[in-house]
């Protein structure tokens, strides 16, 4: 591969992966803070307001990092992918501009009010600010996913006389079936991150016997919402997303599953290492005959393998795609297990004192970050070798005049800057956790 193209791709992959670490927590915590504010309103118990204030502080650090690392994403379409932008800007520019107008203004205005405005707003006003921040972040998620969905499954366009892409149906951009399932699947992923972080910190407090009243609230809320999200992430959202891939990107599905040869009733790989040159899976550990049922909901169904497609249509990094998909699915299954068990102990009123399970919640808290990252890698590696599926290849999209030297320079710059940001961000969030929630805390502000 041409080295400038490889760098442009890695530049985008690196910056979007880092950005999404903050986004997923925003998506999850936005909902959880809104639930805490609602509980405060319903019960009149100040405890929930204190809890919400604690999480809003962590949310604010996380949100600020999400904002500053998000601006480079919009810019990079133009800086590094100018051929793609020129061709597709008239289509996906709509959803990107709508994101700025409809969700970022909502989010940023009401976040200011959520953080700074508790004393100048009424109880309901402050509750509404929490609602607006949550809705704004999910709306932003929808518009970005609609953008990605168009690249995965383009519709509502026609080709002009010189092959240019002309938008013909704006509404279909917004109601793309692909966007619908991918949205709910992705939101459940974000909620899982929020829930595992909340339950993990709650478990940490309970294990330490510090802030125990808050610890119980965090564990209860994290586990209750987390169990629902873990189930919904698998079924129906994950399942339906997989069906869309099977229908519209069957070659990506074959690569995700490490399925090289077309067969009736093929085995489904749970583990194993794909050897793409020899076209086989080494050390396979399989569910016999399960793939046909998973993909077509019919035992014994035939599933096309990679051999059923011309090689120039294959995703260009099959091994990484296979691992990403399996890591996501494997972790998703583990999440259902942990949250299911914790939910059971919560129902039996044993969870707050059952230390092994509190330890499990604490240690599992970073795992949704891995699963969400792997999920996005599955989606975007599966889209390869296309930038816009079936319309424009990734090799045709990069900026022609931006040299590999310039790209490497800015890539290294982002890597350095983001390393520092990550360390400082963790340091500050750790300090808030160590300090803990406190009733009627004196506001310090800037």
């Amino acid at each position: 591969m041409d080295s400038a193209l490889a760098l442009h791709r890695f530049h985008f992959a690196f910056t979007i992966t880092f950005h999404y670490l903050f986004v997923q927590l925003t998506l999850g915590l936005g909902l959880l803070i809104f639930i805490l504010k609602s509980m405060a309103l319903k019960t009149g118990n100040e405890h929930y307001n204190d809890a919400a204030r604690f999480w809003a502080k962590i949310f604010a650090v996380n949100f600020a990092l999400g904002v500053v690392t998000g601006i480079p994403m919009e810019f990079q379409f133009g800086t590094n992918w100018s051929r793609f932008s020129k061709a597709a800007g008239g289509v996906i520019g709509h959803t990107l501009a709508m994101e700025g107008l409809y969700s970022f203004f909502l989010e940023s205005s009401f976040l200011g009010l959520l953080i700074f405005g508790e004393k100048i707003l009424s109880k309901w006003g402050h509750w509404f600010a929490a609602l607006a921040v949550w809705v704004g972040s999910w709306l932003s998620g929808y518009l970005i996913i609609a953008t990605d969905a168009w690249m995965q499954h383009p519709l509502g366009y026609a080709l002009g006389p010189n092959g240019e892409i002309l938008l013909t149906d704006w509404f279909s951009l917004l109601v793309n079936e692909w966007a619908f399932w991918q949205f709910w699947h992705t939101m459940m992923g974000g909620v899982l991150t929020g829930c595992f972080i909340m339950a993990g910190i709650g478990a940490f407090y309970l294990l330490l016997h510090r802030h125990e009243e808050y610890g119980r609230t965090f564990v209860r809320l994290g586990v209750t919402v987390g169990l629902a999200a873990a189930l919904l992430a698998a079924f129906p959202t994950g399942d339906q997303q997989g069906m869309l891939v099977a229908r519209h990107q069957p070659v990506a599905l074959a690569a995700m599953e490490g399925h090289f040869e077309t067969a009736a009733s093929p085995d489904m790989a749970i583990m194993g290492q794909p050897d793409v040159n020899k076209r086989r899976l080494d050390n396979p550990f399989v569910l016999p005959g399960a793939l046909g049922f998973i993909v077509h909901k019919r035992w014994g169904a035939e599933v096309r393998g990679l051999d059923g497609f011309p090689q120039d249509q294959w995703p260009d990094n099959i091994a990484l795609l296979y691992y990403s998909f399996h890591v996501m699915v494997g972790l998703g299954t583990i999440f259902i297990g942990i949250m299911g068990l914790a939910g059971l102990f919560l129902w039996l009123k044993r969870l707050y004192t059952f230390r092994p399970l509190l330890w499990a919640l604490l240690l599992a808290s970073p795992l949704p970050y891995v699963a969400n990252t792997a999920g996005w890698m599955t989606a975007e590696l599966g889209r390869q070798p296309w930038l816009i599926y079936g319309l424009m290849r990734t090799t045709e999209g990069a900026s022609p005049h931006v040299s590999s030297g310039n790209t490497l320079f800015t890539l290294l710059g982002f890597m350095g800057l983001y390393t520092v940001l990550a360390m400082l961000g963790l340091l500050m969030i750790w300090r808030e956790i160590d300090h803990g929630p406190a009733p009627q805390e004196k506001a310090t502000g800037y």
Partner: protein
């Protein structure tokens, strides 16, 4: 007609961005001088704390609108100005981090560090934004597919082989720096009391003289560098209303400053910024990115615009969206109106 409407919309959004984010960049530029004690610094930060990220959203929203309405311009200019744009991104990251990180540790290494980062990033951003405008006036070496790539600098001359920085664009950058310093100082004066206000007013007065001189200098230089400017104003004298707005703003800053009307002086400074930006845009029109060399290669409002269907349907979502956005902004600014009081809560 539709491309012209969208061109005006993008220009207005960029002007709003510069007026709004301009005052918090300006506050960053002047805060080391006008706020000396911890409480004074906190007061300055609190004056922008609830609004800075919303102000930055105008940049994102303008960028997104530019992207869908003028994809060819977006693709060409963002890839052509690759390095400075990436540096602007880094500086925006540092600016945001400095505002949000500062309050998390209370010690004498952490806080002054972020104060200096805040000042440094804000100052460089102002200069880069000014230099970017300078490039739009001067033009860039576009090729027949509408692309170009400029290094940061070559021989510092705005000749046939220019860099992004040359003596002309750097002059515009310094002009932007002074303009935003004045704008930020007037904002701080409006939002604070006593000594901080007095120092901010003092800074604004010095900046005002600099801004006045630089306005004349940059105007003369711009008309010499880009002959199309004079042609635009000659062919459509109604365009003189834009420089007249700028002049009114500049005079207004001085008069309101003398009468101690802080808010009005700040609004006059906003008018000055809007007047200067609209004058520039009017002068370059119908080009959006002039070519150095063959004028036929210039990107124009017409040849850079997206197809008509997209522009028409775009108005349908844009109009309600912008009304909502202005509504949120108005609500937010009204809620946080008035002088900063350090005991009012926060995080």
């Amino acid at each position: 007609m539709l491309p012209v409407i969208w061109f005006c919309i993008v220009a207005v959004m960029i002007a709003i961005y510069v007026v709004l984010d301009g005052f918090d960049l300006g506050a960053g530029i002047v805060h080391l001088g006008v706020a000396r004690t911890e409480n004074e610094r906190r007061a300055v930060l609190k004056s922008i704390g609830p609004v800075w990220d919303g102000n930055e959203v105008w940049l994102l929203a303008a960028g997104g609108t530019l992207y869908f309405a003028f994809p060819a311009l977006y693709a060409s200019s963002f890839s052509g100005f690759y390095l400075p744009l990436m540096m602007v991104l880094w500086l925006l990251i540092l600016r945001g981090a400095s505002v949000e990180f500062r309050s998390h540790f209370d010690n004498r290494v952490w806080k002054p560090l972020w104060d200096v980062v805040f000042c440094f990033a804000s100052a460089l951003l102002a200069i880069f934004f000014g230099a970017a405008l300078g490039n739009v006036v001067r033009g860039v070496p576009l090729d027949s597919s509408g692309d170009f790539f400029l290094p940061l600098w070559t021989n510092w001359q705005p000749g046939p082989n220019p860099g992004i920085l040359d003596w002309y664009t750097v002059t515009v950058g310094l002009f932007a720096f002074l303009t935003l310093a004045q704008h930020g100082a007037l904002w701080v004066a409006y939002k604070t009391k006593d000594e901080v206000r007095a120092r901010a007013r003092n800074v604004a007065r010095f900046a005002w003289f600099g801004v006045g001189l630089m306005t004349m200098l940059v105007t003369v230089l711009s008309f010499r560098i880009q002959p199309a400017l004079a042609a635009s104003f000659h062919s459509m004298p109604a365009g003189y209303v834009f420089p007249a707005l700028a002049l009114a703003g500049l005079v207004g800053v001085f008069l309101f400053w003398r009468r101690q009307h802080d808010l009005r002086a700040f609004l006059a400074s906003s008018l000055f910024i809007i007047g200067m930006l609209t004058s520039l845009v009017f002068g370059v029109f119908p080009n959006v990115l002039p070519s150095i060399g063959d004028p036929a290669l210039s990107l124009t409002v017409q040849n850079a615009a997206a197809p008509e269907y997209g522009l028409r349907v775009g108005l349908l979502w844009f109009i309600p969206g912008i009304i909502l956005a202005v509504g949120y902004n108005t609500f937010l600014y009204r809620k946080f109106a008035g002088k900063i009081n350090l005991d009012d809560g926060g995080h």
